[in-house]
């Protein structure tokens, strides 16, 4: 599904965010990317979303070299992945329903199809009763559920989450992680960047640890063992 070969990223200000990264993620896997702030977790996700291009090496997703995608292909490439942010990234002027439906409307799907898929996605995250609420009226956990509903509404094969529990209390974090796990079981490949030790240790999933831009460990069924 994802193959990163000898990839390095150097930002224009000279910061080496990633150095010679090699990572392979199979279809249907659930992977935690862990590490301290600045370790390169977010940059690694941005390589996959093509918000950042590798200065060196290759990023191959679904058989295509991401760096070689022509600009007009990029939107279509991104439709194969859902993205969840730490700060939820909901559109503040749209209701819960509109936020989820928006991801489908930009694709130009027929109205009937949009209604069906939006309802399914909101139902999956358990928020059908909050359809008409605006993001400012939701709790952090609810907002993150809406963001997840939006990310999976199009049923993408890949889900990327950047610190999805960073703003949430431990119980809500656990709920969100259970939701992501549920989505993974349905067949979606899930990559989560996180340093939420409590949740990671309980999940017992594959853990890839980054430190100052390099992968220092990659353990199946791992735990968060980062030591500064």
């Amino acid at each position: 599904m994802i193959e990163i070969q000898e990839a390095s990223v150097t930002y224009p200000n000279g910061v080496h965010a990633l150095r010679n990264i090699n990572l392979r993620v199979e279809k249907g896997e659930f992977v935690f990317l862990v590490g301290a702030t600045g370790a390169g977790k977010s940059t690694l996700l941005k390589l996959i979303t093509r918000e950042v291009l590798p200065s060196d090496g290759k990023v191959i997703v679904a058989g295509r070299n991401v760096a070689e995608l022509p600009p007009h292909e990029v939107p279509y490439y991104r439709r194969m992945m859902g993205v969840v942010f730490q700060d939820f990234g909901l559109l503040p002027n749209k209701t819960v329903w509109e936020n989820v439906a928006f991801a489908l409307r930009v694709l130009g799907l027929p109205r009937k199809e949009i209604r069906k898929r939006t309802a399914n996605a909101i139902d999956l995250v358990g928020l059908l009763r909050r359809c008409d609420s605006f993001p400012a009226q939701l709790s952090g956990g609810e907002a993150q559920r809406v963001a997840i509903a939006r990310a999976i509404a199009n049923d993408p094969p890949l889900l990327l989450a950047d610190e999805p529990t960073g703003n949430l209390d431990p119980d809500t974090s656990w709920d969100i992680m259970q939701l992501l796990s549920h989505i993974n079981i349905r067949g979606t490949t899930v990559l989560v960047a996180s340093h939420d030790k409590y949740v990671i240790d309980r999940m017992r999933k594959r853990v890839v640890m980054l430190d100052r831009g390099t992968i220092v460990s990659d353990v199946p069924c791992g735990v968060y063992t980062h030591e500064p």
Partner: protein
């Protein structure tokens, strides 16, 4: 797996157009304060620009309408017969620089002269001292001097009275007004565009995160840009309409309180610019500036990811 690259429709269908228009309208309504601020800025900027244009237009009309009022008076010698005068009139009418020739016989000139002066003074005169004359209007005011010189050279002509100096002054004023007007209009148009660009850029800046989210969802650049451009056009047009209202209100007030007292100027000013010309010009200008500056504002953030 590569089949998943093309999810959804790639061509613009009707429901997609409907979506883009709906997006623009909903955003305008829900970003109420930002929308009002942008419309207000557009309205004020266009009102100043349109008002300046209207004043210039009127000044130019005024300057152009003055020279024909300064005709050339040609007085004939006493011994010139009426038949010769008729021949001269035909000769004048053939002259390429002359627009109009009116023969004024002494019998007609005398009562006008008496009326213009005080009756007591003219009543003491035992006979009509005025000569036969022509009132000549030239086609191009700047040719007044040349035509006068030619008329003076004719043996039948006793005297020629023109307003060459006044005409020259008015013509140079008209030229200055025209160039200052063109320069001022261009500068004001640039200033107006910059002000509107800033106002609309602020509304886009406030929503730059939205643009990033839309990009990550997989929206094409056209899908992201179109609602912003439509919003810019709507803001530009609404601002232009408010500007039209302001301009007409102010010009009504001005003509009510000032022009009435300056009958001379008002009578020379010609007909006022038709309402629909101002309305149409500002509407098109507002829409164009709104559309172009939104496109430029969004482009910056579209390039970011």
């Amino acid at each position: 797996m590569s089949a998943t690259f093309r999810v959804g429709c790639t061509r613009m269908n009707l429901s997609h157009v409907e979506f883009l228009v709906e997006e623009a309208l909903v955003n305008l309504r829900r970003n109420g304060l930002m929308t009002l601020a942008a419309i207000g800025t557009v309205a004020l900027a266009l009102a100043v620009f349109g008002g300046f244009g209207l004043i210039l237009w009127r000044l130019e009309k005024l300057a152009n309408s003055l020279p024909p009022k300064f005709a050339i008076d040609v007085f004939l010698k006493d011994n010139v017969s009426r038949q010769r005068a008729q021949e001269l009139q035909k000769q004048f009418e053939k002259h390429p620089d002359i627009a109009q020739v009116t023969f004024k016989p002494k019998e007609q000139a005398w009562p006008e002269f008496q009326k213009a002066l005080q009756q007591e003074i003219t009543a003491a005169l035992p006979y009509n001292p005025l000569p036969d004359s022509f009132v000549i209007q030239v086609k191009d005011p700047s040719r007044t001097g040349a035509v006068s010189a030619w008329l003076r050279s004719l043996p039948e002509v006793d005297a020629v009275r023109d307003a060459k100096e006044e005409v020259d002054i008015i013509l140079s004023v008209a030229t200055v007004v025209r160039w200052v007007g063109i320069g001022g209009t261009v500068l004001l148009l640039i200033a107006t565009s910059i002000i509107i660009y800033n106002a609309i850029r602020l509304t886009v800046f406030a929503r730059r995160r939205e643009i990033r989210i839309m990009q990550l969802i997989g929206a094409t650049s056209a899908t992201i840009r179109t609602p912003f451009v439509l919003e810019g056009v709507v803001q530009g047009v609404l601002g232009a309409w408010i500007a039209c209202g302001l301009i007409f209100a102010v010009s009504k007030l001005v003509s009510h309180f000032v022009m009435r007292k300056l009958v001379f100027i008002d009578s020379l000013g010609g007909s006022p610019m038709p309402v629909w010309v101002v309305f149409l010009a500002l509407t098109i200008l507002g829409a164009a500036i709104g559309g172009v500056v939104s496109t430029l504002s969004v482009r910056k953030y579209l390039q970011a990811v």
